[in-house]
Amino acid sequence: MSLSSQNNENDYSKRNCHNTRHLRNWTIAWVISMAIAAFAPKYVWDFNTVLSIIGVVICIAVGFGMLLANRKYLQGLDEMQRKILFDAMALSLGVGLVLGLSYELLEDIKLITFQPEIPHLVMVMCFTYMGGIIAGHRKYQ
């Protein structure tokens, strides 16, 4: 029994590459729309309310596009790859929740003098997510 014909046409790899590119494009678009919504009011249109609202609405719409692309990407993965990503997401969510609330608490009880910022939490969650993915791949290597 030969599988040579199937080897030429690896649907999984092709689908995964396509979904990854799709997700990458949506992510880049979301980052750009976020940058426009954040900086254009100050540097481009001098806080024009209508343009700022349009910028934020576009940013949210593109963000939802990215979420849908991410869902399609996850659905296209095989069960082990999906498990690795879900485990990493669960770890990232847990660490984000615990450290985020503790971080907020530090300011409330005057252990830090600066205001805790959401981007700090997002960075922690991103690093945890990446660490979780690396650990998952090593686990099943």
Binding site: L3, N7, S13, D78, E79, M80
Partner: protein
């Protein structure tokens, strides 16, 4: 869970990539299943059984058996 995937694949002279393609999963997943590091879902196990034209319990066995 133990499995005979590696033996069955070798008997047919298939590569991991070929088997992965036939089962519509990644080569890493086949490697992890063969090494016993990842237990496949029931649908994937049935798919493998159909591919090898064998009963599912002839490919996958519980560790305690």
């Amino acid at each position: 869970m133990k499995n005979r995937l590696k033996v069955l694949r070798a008997e047919r002279d298939w590569t991991q990539a070929q088997l992965a393609s036939a089962l519509d999963v990644s080569r890493q997943t086949i490697n992890a299943i063969e090494k016993g590091k990842f237990d496949p879902s029931l649908p994937l196990a049935f798919k493998a059984a159909r591919l090898f034209n064998m009963a599912i319990e002839d490919i996958f066995q519980d560790e305690s058996d």
